[in-house]
């Protein structure tokens, strides 16, 4: 009796999980298959069956990607010492992708530096104002970050970084989650090791570099992947800050494709695939660190 009930519960839960998993995976499948469908296959006419399966129903075509890559721009332009340096000509969509990568990588590097230094002293040092600063960080984390978009834009315009990648990078780095996460990792450093380093005559910088850094390595992994994905997907901030075509990220680029012709599904899906596939690959490679980051960041202390 109980065994029967247990078995039917297990079967029920597996069925429900699989149904949910399909609900979650299907949009991705629909993006990727949609991106290789020819225009005639995309718009389903009444009475016809939906073209579900690749190769039998759909003959894959590259035309959507070709169209996505049609308009071109320079990879970058730099104005330095009166000379204008321009990069090689590339498709606009690749420029958007490059912008996304640049923003995410810079935010990731800066966050790792600032958060590991701050997290370490908050965890291991006793100094005046520590409680106040820590409370400030925690309170800021509980506030909705989108409500500061308007003042952030006027601030960015004032200091002249609006419409540049830094307008997205700086607020992402400023968000205190990373400090919090690295504080959690730094708590695990044995205080005796720090004291031993001091007795051996190591200065503060040296202690941090050769004792602390190796010990909080897993924290860097978690923080790096977390910040990378956060910056990549920080759509509201990107939307407000980056309005010039050349400065757009891939997310903004697809949104622009959708608003210019919302029925050119093949083109939009090709853009969505270009945005989703790289980040999914990065996520899958660094998945282990990612899970660790989410769980460590949650244990509030």
């Amino acid at each position: 009796m109980t065994n029967d009930r247990k078995r039917s519960y297990v079967i029920f839960s597996i069925v429900l999980l699989v149904v949910l998993a399909i609900l979650f995976l299907f949009p991705l499948y629909w993006i990727v298959t949609g991106s290789v469908k020819a225009k005639a296959d995309i718009l389903i006419k009444a009475g016809e069956s939906v073209r579900w399966l690749p190769f039998t129903d759909i003959s894959p075509t590259g035309e959507n990607y070709a169209k996505l890559m049609k308009s071109t721009t320079e990879l970058f332009t730099l104005n330095a010492f009166g000379y204008k340096i321009t990069g090689p000509e590339i498709p606009m969509a690749m420029r958007w992708l490059f912008n996304s990568v640049f923003i995410s990588v810079m935010a990731m590097l800066l966050s790792c530096i600032t958060a590991s230094l701050a997290g370490y002293v908050l965890a291991k040092k006793r100094f005046y104002g520590r409680a106040f600063i820590f409370t400030l960080f925690v309170c800021a984390m509980a506030l909705p970050k989108q409500v500061i978009l308007i003042p952030l834009l006027s601030l960015a315009s004032t200091i002249g970084i609006a419409n540049s990648p830094w307008a997205v990078i700086c607020p992402v780095v400023g968000w205190p989650f990373g400090v919090f996460l690295m504080k959690q990792f730094s708590e695990t450093i044995p205080t005796e090791m720090l004291e031993a380093a001091r007795i051996d005559g190591a200065g503060e910088a040296r202690t941090f570099w050769s004792v602390v850094m190796p010990l909080i390595k897993p924290g860097f992994g978690a923080l790096a992947i977390f910040t990378f994905i956060n910056a990549w997907n920080e759509y509201p901030l990107q939307l407000v800050m980056l309005t010039e075509q050349e400065q757009k990220t891939i997310a903004l680029g697809i949104a622009a494709l959708q608003s210019s012709d919302s029925t050119d599904y093949g083109l939009i899906m090709a853009g969505a695939a270009l945005a989703a596939v790289p980040i999914i690959i990065i996520f899958l490679i660094f998945q282990k660190y990612f899970t660790q980051g989410i769980t460590m960041g949650a244990v509030k202390g």
Partner: protein, 296 residues
């Protein structure tokens, strides 16, 4: 271990040197804009200029039908999404926790994917699937004879908000599931075994042993889901632009629209302040209710 004042002073100097880079970004790009937002909310800042109006924006907000409608929609989203996300993620977390490691990480990954791909990629494909004439859902429903012609899911005031909540759900449960799987791993397994030897049922084991030890995680999940649902914006901007007839306008969307389409910065900042206060109140209330629940 007590420190001498001299040593402590030295530690303070060193600590602030280490904190300097983080504080630069935090004060510059989080604290300063927050303060600017609060100050601006007392002015009528717009394209042409700005003058101090004290509480006028706040008074006007509570007489603004669009704001009240947006507030109502926001509360509906929170009230529906938070329990659904919490219960589902707890259920999925417990179900996959008992599986083999490979199955567990497969499912965890699948439910996390919409978070990774980001709202834009998710929304453009859902918008297509919901489309009245070209969408998959309508095609299937008409093909199966359930509807005689395509239904405008996103264009109808009765269904648009439900579509928003469905997509919000798929982008929200990934993180709670990861948290629950980790929390269940910390439950004392010897107690679970002892209880099942003593003949406790699955339900009893869950409520008496597992539930108390995953309570802090539940609290955290509820709070972050509340904060995220209150801020629901990207989805709406891309899916419906707040329409039809403000049926899907949220406070955050209306704030964006007011500031970046109508350039009423002061008025929009007042909305931001109210939203922040409401979120803080909700979070505090949840802490109180759920902490009270555990001590009883």
């Amino acid at each position: 271990m007590s420190q001498s004042p001299v040593l402590r002073r030295r530690e303070t100097v060193v600590s602030y040197l280490f904190l300097l880079p983080a504080l630069f970004f935090f004060v510059g790009f989080v604290v300063t804009p927050m303060a600017m937002g609060i100050v601006t909310s007392f002015t009528d800042a717009h394209m042409g200029g700005s003058k101090f109006v004290f509480l006028d924006n706040y008074i006007k907000l509570f007489q603004d039908p669009v704001f009240l409608k947006s507030m109502l929609n926001t509360v509906i989203i929170v009230v529906v999404a938070v329990p659904v996300v919490t219960v589902f993620s707890l259920w999925v977390g417990s179900a996959i926790y008992e599986m083999r490691a490979s199955a567990r990480s497969f499912f965890r990954c699948v439910f996390y994917l919409p978070v990774v791909t980001g709202s834009v990629a998710v929304v453009v494909v859902w918008r297509w699937m919901f489309h009245t004439y070209n969408g998959l859902f309508n095609h299937v429903l008409v093909g199966a004879g359930i509807l005689d012609k395509g239904f405008p899911f996103l264009g109808d005031t009765r269904t648009a908000l439900a579509c928003v909540i469905l997509i919000l759900f798929t982008t929200s449960i990934g993180q709670p599931i990861v948290l629950y799987v980790a929390a269940l791993g910390n439950v004392d397994s010897s107690m679970v075994e002892a209880a099942s030897v003593d003949g406790a049922t699955r339900m009893q084991i869950f409520w008496k042993i597992k539930w108390p030890s995953i309570m802090p995680t539940t609290l955290y999940v509820v709070v972050i889901t509340t904060i995220n649902s209150f801020q629901c914006f990207a989805l709406i901007q891309l899916l419906t632009s707040g329409g039809p007839d403000y049926a899907t306008s949220t406070v955050m969307y209306y704030l964006y629209d007011t500031a970046f389409k109508q350039y009423q910065y002061g008025y929009a900042d007042a909305m931001g302040v109210i939203l922040a206060i409401v979120i803080a109140l909700f979070s505090a209330l949840q802490f109180k209710v759920m902490n009270g629940g555990t001590t009883e």
